[in-house]
């Protein structure tokens, strides 16, 4: 049996999408309160050392602080939700929790969300 644990965070970021790819309105600098939801997979018999729900917070503190109240395009190429989700997932993969990280969901608006799923966990499901 496997359990998926998801914890979510808020991220207040402005961004714009380069005009070549999207409609003019998205090319204007605008912002969202993004919701970042990180999903961990807990398999039976595989203990996560020091685990409790707050344990995840310390691994996200640095990247969330870095992006909080910034213009995303200053930090990431294209400044898109896809790139942000990917960058958060890659960051988490390199931490001690890496092997247990399953997915990072980035909820931009009520209608848009981006999900980075670790390739291995796709194989497992």
């Amino acid at each position: 049996m496997k359990i998926h644990v998801t914890r979510s965070y808020k991220l207040n970021v402005a961004h714009f999408i380069p005009e070549d790819y999207v409609s003019p309105e998205q090319a204007t600098l605008h912002g969202h309160e993004w919701k970042v939801a990180v999903t961990l997979e807990k398999s039976k018999g595989v203990a996560i050392p020091n685990w409790d729900v707050h344990y995840l917070d310390q691994f996200l503190k640095d990247p969330l602080n870095k992006f909080q109240n910034c213009i995303l395009n200053d930090h990431l190429p294209h400044g898109t939700g896809e790139v942000l989700a990917q960058s958060l997932l890659e960051h988490l993969k390199q931490t001690a929790l890496g092997p247990h990280i399953m997915a990072v969901q980035l909820i931009e608006t009520r209608k848009n969300r981006f999900q980075g799923v670790f390739a291995n966990s796709l194989d497992k499901t």
Binding site: K10, N12, V13, A14, H15, E25, Q26, T28, L29, H30, G31, H32, E33, W34, N69, C70, I71, E108, T109, R110
Partner: protein, 160 residues
């Protein structure tokens, strides 16, 4: 010693008080007339630099409440298409914008309060042209847990 005096005063206030029949709204309420209002929410995403020079981004929710009589022909206060078009015509000016660059905020800081106020004035201009209708309230949500109300006669909240 004070109690009987107080009783006499209450009796006086009850008999000659201002809300005895003279206030028309009280009269119609006691006769069972109810007031009705409708509300519509629209969504907009915008960025702004606040007074502390922090870059902010929000998925705002703009909620407009309109009060008025129910039209006997349609059974409605206002058709949802009409209300929707009016609220959106205001909200869309700010959707996917960097608010500090807009003309409204050239000489003032940007805040949720000020955005709500300018939305109220613009929408109030449109709604008050329709006979019998009033824009009761604008509620601008910055997030699920924080919002600003703007209205000409804001009532204490009892329905939330």
């Amino acid at each position: 010693m004070l109690l009987p005096l107080r009783f006499i005063f209450c009796l006086f206030a009850w008999t000659f008080g201002p809300n005895q029949v003279t206030d028309p709204s009280m009269k119609s309420l006691s006769q069972g007339a109810v007031q009705t209002r409708i509300a519509r929410r629209v969504y907009l995403s915008a960025a702004y630099r606040d007074a502390r020079n922090l870059m902010k981004g929000h998925n705002f929710v703009l909620e407009a409440s309109v009060r008025g009589p129910i039209d006997p022909g349609s059974g409605m206060i206002l058709s949802i298409q009409e209300l929707d078009a009016m609220v959106k015509s205001v909200a869309h000016k700010y959707d996917h914008q960097f608010l500090n660059e807009l003309s409204e905020f050239q000489n003032s800081p940007v805040s949720t309060e000020l955005l709500a106020q300018t939305c109220f004035h613009q929408l109030n201009e449109k709604i008050s042209q329709l006979p019998g209708l009033t824009l009761d309230k604008i509620r601008l949500f910055e997030s699920d847990d924080y919002w600003v109300d703007v209205g000409l006669h804001l009532m204490p909240e009892i329905d939330t």
